[in-house]
């Protein structure tokens, strides 16, 4: 589904990814853990196509096709979704309006017509309810004045609405209290399916208690330095990243 092969990327003169390779199959949940500055957020931005980053080597295939030459919106409609660590505020644009514009872009790309307003409302209400998102929140401008928990729930709601094939969650647990973490995790788990995959980027093990991964990777200094099962995350929680940081430096 998602294949990253020997990916090298830089921002300015600084090389951040130094030959990262990762293969994600449909239905799998991969966790990427690592110390601060390992390149975790960079990886998510590069996959989503943010400018500022320059890919110098390697390739990224989504369902067999290279996406590195695609615009961010083309990657989105091709099925790639990024749940932001810090969701962006768009003043004056009602969340509902934003959702409608996003959904219609996806439908258009698939050659489908726009939904009627009642159809759309019904669809949004369905996904919003599961995430404790009130209709008042849907009327408010995108992420403006949202609490940390509200922002993350809104991200998952967008994900549920757009039905992506590969979901990248960038530090989705940051800024969440335990109750919010539960709601968000349940939202993510409800979306798990045999034809959808997840890449969960996190610094801490606690998110992985709720979203249980199939495979855990340790990212350090721009490379995957170790891969294992869920027990690897527990080991990291206990012993920290020191060993890997040292390895990478060596």
């Amino acid at each position: 589904m998602l294949e990253i092969k020997n990916l090298h990327a830089r921002i300015g003169d600084r090389e951040i990814l130094k030959g990262l390779t990762l293969t994600v199959k449909p239905g799998e949940v991969h966790a990427i853990m690592g110390p601060n500055g390992a390149g975790k957020s960079t990886l998510s931005y590069i996959l989503a196509g943010k400018e500022d980053y320059e890919v110098t080597e390697g390739e990224v295939l989504l369902n067999g096709a290279s996406i590195l030459d695609l615009e961010p919106n083309e990657r989105s409609v091709a099925g790639l979704f990024l749940a932001f660590q810090y969701p962006i505020e768009i003043p004056g644009v009602a969340t509902m309006t934003f959702l409608k514009a996003a959904l219609n872009s996806h439908r258009k790309a698939k050659g489908e017509g726009e939904l009627t307003t009642p159809e759309f409302m019904k669809l949004v209400k369905g996904v919003a309810e599961k995430l404790n998102i009130t209709s008042d929140m849907l009327k408010r401008p995108v992420n403006v004045g949202f609490s940390g928990g509200e922002k993350k729930r809104a991200e998952i709601m967008q994900m549920a609405l757009l039905q992506p094939s590969i979901c990248i969650l960038d530090e989705t647990d940051s800024g969440l209290d335990i109750d919010a973490l539960k709601v968000v995790s349940e939202g993510v788990n409800a979306l798990r399916s045999p034809d959808r995959a997840f890449v969960v980027i996190t610094h801490y093990q606690r998110l992985l208690d709720h979203i249980v991964p199939d495979i855990v990777h340790v990212l350090s200094d721009g490379r995957i330095v170790r891969t294992g099962g869920p027990e690897l995350a527990l080991d990291l929680e206990k012993n920290g990243y020191a060993a890997y940081v040292a390895n990478a430096a060596a």
């Binding site: 962006i88 309006t97 996003a102």
Partner: protein, 491 residues
């Protein structure tokens, strides 16, 4: 790849040549000879079959104008205008007062149809059954009003809505009393020019205690080459009356510049309210700044009576040059003035626009919300004056000016003037300048929105406070217009 760098590149290679209303209608016109002198003024006055007092009024204006100099204080730059190289009167032939739509040149009707302006009452009435609101339209083509709809319906309520050239004949006492009473003949260079040569425009009178039953609307179209359009609008809301008025403008794409110098006067008597909305979409010129309309407009409202209210809402997306300051004289005690503005500039457009709120009466209040959006290589200036007179105790003003920049070749400027001669006045001014952030754009793109749509969405959010002031039927249209106006900014 790099989305934002690309935005900037595309802004550089801007293509604003997508002006949808740029067609020329092939309609036979009657033109005055080029140039401006007493004979031309008499020619116009004679064409309109005007009474002697008005001819004299015009000539007085002309003599004044000949002693005046073109103002240069605005932040706009354009080659000198040769005022002797223009036609001051152009009229479609066969328009000797059409009695009904059947007498209107079918070519004209087709033009308005192409512009999406319904002139046939039957068609509009058909719309009513679908639940649409009624809008009465006065269509002005070059120098003459071609048709006014729903006159009979309005007359039942005592509302007068007709071309000003007609009002001069049918209601001379009203015209004589109010014409030039808000914008005096000698007010400024362009207003004085307009007073000398104004051709047509709308006249509205809403009698005491009447709430005008429908929106009134004028649609201005410049068609003829090398022609100035000088319309004159006069709206009077008598005691306790209410009227909402909409104005729309387009012009063909032409290589040379067209001059538009209008004057609008509003008078609100005791407890009256006038709401005046404009969607100005004159041809802005091409990407190199060739052609386009020079829009030098004087709009002023007089809150003459106590508790009166005048509200200006403007959406300015067109014109090569915009020089426009819709203002309120808050003369009556407790009167209120409002100014809501969205000014979008792209390509090589230059906008110098804002408002004047002149507080004269007690407990008067004013509110200014201005949203300027600059893209391409355009320059967008907000220029405003809030003045509080000695007797205006308890005056209150709130001003908010926000500017949004798209790309790095455009400019946004804010020039607020505040003068207060009364210690009890409270004047507040807030201003921000921001850029569409790369992060906002990336976030929208990540959700699947193409770049142009993303920018239009963010800009629509930015101007939301003002959009909400527009009458419903204009709001949707305006949202689309914002998208179209910015199309060039991302290629």
């Amino acid at each position: 790849m790099a989305a934002v760098k690309e935005t900037v590149d595309q802004v550089l290679s801007i293509d604003v040549d997508k002006y949808k209303y740029g067609f020329v209608s092939d309609i036979e016109s009657e033109l005055a000879p080029k140039g401006l002198n007493e004979d031309i003024v008499r020619y116009i006055s004679a064409k309109k079959d005007e009474p002697e007092w008005l001819t004299e009024w015009r000539l007085e204006a002309l003599r004044r104008w000949q002693t005046m100099e073109e103002p240069t204080w605005a932040r706009v730059d354009y080659p000198p205008i040769d005022f002797q190289d223009l036609h001051y009167y152009a009229a479609p032939k066969k328009t000797a007062g059409p009695k009904s739509l059947d007498e209107v040149d079918p070519g004209l009707l087709a033009t308005y149809e192409k512009l999406g302006i319904p002139l046939k009452e039957q068609e509009i009435l058909a719309g009513v059954e679908k639940g649409d609101r009624l809008v009465a339209v006065d269509a002005v083509f070059d120098s003459v009003s071609v048709v006014t709809t729903f006159k009979a319906e309005l007359a039942k309520h005592g509302v007068i809505f007709c071309p000003i050239s007609e009002a001069v004949k049918t209601h001379p006492e009203l015209v004589k009393k109010y014409l030039g009473s808000v914008v005096p003949v000698s007010d400024n260079f362009y207003a004085t020019l307009n007073s000398a040569v104004f051709s047509d425009g709308s006249f509205v009178y809403v009698p005491k205690g009447v709430r005008c039953p429908m929106e009134l609307s004028t649609y201005f179209r410049i068609n003829e080459k090398k022609t100035g359009q000088f319309e004159r609008t006069l709206i009077i809301a008598d005691e306790g009356a209410y009227v909402s008025y909409l104005e729309g403008c387009t012009a063909p794409s032409r290589d040379e510049n067209q001059l538009h110098a209008a004057v609008v006067e509003l008078i609100a008597l005791d407890d009256a309210e006038i709401k005046y909305s404009t969607v100005q979409n004159w041809y802005p010129g091409d990407s190199e700044g060739k052609g386009g309309v020079f829009n030098f407009v004087t709009k002023r409202g007089d809150c003459r009576g106590k508790n009166s209210k005048i509200s200006w809402t403007q959406v300015e997306t067109g014109s090569a040059i915009t020089w426009k300051y819709p203002s309120c004289i808050l003369r009556g005690d407790n009167s209120r003035g409002e100014f809501y503005s969205i000014a979008i500039s792209n390509g090589r457009q230059q906008v110098d626009s804002g408002t004047k709120m002149v507080h004269l009466g007690k407990n008067t209040s004013s509110k200014i919300i201005s949203k300027g959006i600059s893209a391409g290589r355009s320059n967008n200036t907000y220029r405003g004056l809030v003045s509080v007179g000695r007797k205006a105790s308890g005056a209150r003003n709130f001003t908010n000016c926000d500017s949004l920049l798209i790309g790095n070749k455009c400019g946004a400027h804010t020039v607020p003037y505040i003068e207060s001669k009364n210690a009890s006045a409270i004047v507040e001014h807030e201003a921000t300048t921001s850029k569409i952030s790369d992060d906002q754009l990336f976030y929208c793109l990540q959700r699947g929105l193409p770049q142009e749509e993303a920018i239009a969405l963010i800009v629509n959010g930015f101007v939301k406070d003002v959009l909400q002031q527009l009458p419903m039927e204009f709001m949707v249209e305006t949202q689309k217009l914002i998208g179209i106006s910015l199309e060039g900014s991302v290629g």
